[in-house]
Symmetry: C2
Subunit: 155 residues, 2 copies
DNA sequence: GATCATAATGAGACTGAGTCTCATTCGCAA
DNA sequence: TTGCGAATGAGACTCAGTCTCATTATGATC
């Protein structure tokens, strides 16, 4: 699992653990050894990862526990789940642990890659979406702007 | 399945069937009775639908065939698959059979609702994304701009 | 309209990502 | 150090979606 890191986390390794710990505490979860190792595995990938990616990087982690802990991390706002076009979910650090960004999703192999846009475009999108959501009685939390197509390998 | 229709198809009922037929033919698929009924079921929903929605509306349709035909319709550009936060995929007519639009995805129940944005915002997003994709050697086909949050029922 | 080759269908078995269960272990508080 | 609730590991389980294969519909040709 040696992938290019597209979006650098704005925090150092120890600050990241610190931030994760605070978020877990706020939700009455413990920052255990295996959760720490899970966070390290996601960090070392530097890109959205699937369960197989995580277990390949840290074979001592047990799948059922990893799923459970990804769920805990998601509830605590540490991790975001990305539903790609494949049949597996991808996970990555949630904003603002990772800078705001979007995804290139390959229709061929389902791989997910991070990408950033202009501040200007972001602001307009945000405003426009919030307006539209209001009309439907929808309470928005975050937006995901994904580009679907073929990655360099599948093209 | 009486849902509000958010985005009207720009085509009449018969024009829609005509357009679907043409797209299937272009891909050497036949527009059979059961595919016609499937298209009607999606049309009558007026919103993104899951397999249970479709089968509830047209019980004579067999799940395995529906999946197979949704796949055929997707390959032919008749239908788009939406990966919501739930565990089931949603389907709706692809653009330009349906006007260009985006989705409100409920984190609580996974339901998907259609929504439209300003032309202006769309144009900027399109330009910005295409640029970003180019930098990654990615071949873009379409973008999906989804808003994640809670629907009126789950809020 | 009859015949034929091929595509599509229906029924059910199968796959596999993700969840649940439960006995055991860990982590924290007093 | 003890005790108790939270977390873990191992594996059974669920169920959306896919695959298989025998049967049936479809459209092309005569």
């Amino acid at each position: 699992m040696t992938r290019v890191r597209n979006i650098d986390p704005p925090l150092s390794h120890s600050d990241l653990h610190e931030a994760v710990s605070r978020r877990l505490e706020r939700h009455d979860y413990r920052y255990t050894q295996s959760r720490r190792r899970l966070v390290d595995a996601i960090l070392s990938a530097g890109q959205p990862v699937t369960l197989p990616d995580i277990v390949a990087d840290a074979p001592e982690l047990v799948p059922s526990s990893v799923y459970r802990n990804l769920d805990v991390l998601e509830r605590s706002g540490v991790v975001d789940r990305i539903n790609s076009s494949g049949d597996r979910a991808y996970f990555e650090f949630a904003e603002p642990l990772l800078a705001h960004h979007h995804h290139l999703i390959c229709i061929g192999c389902g791989v997910v890659e991070d990408v950033r846009l202009d501040e200007d475009v972001e602001a307009r999108v945000e405003r426009s979406l919030t307006e539209a959501a209001g009309r439907s009685g929808f309470t928005p939390l975050r937006h995901s702007l994904d580009l679907h197509g073929y990655c360099a390998l599948c093209a």
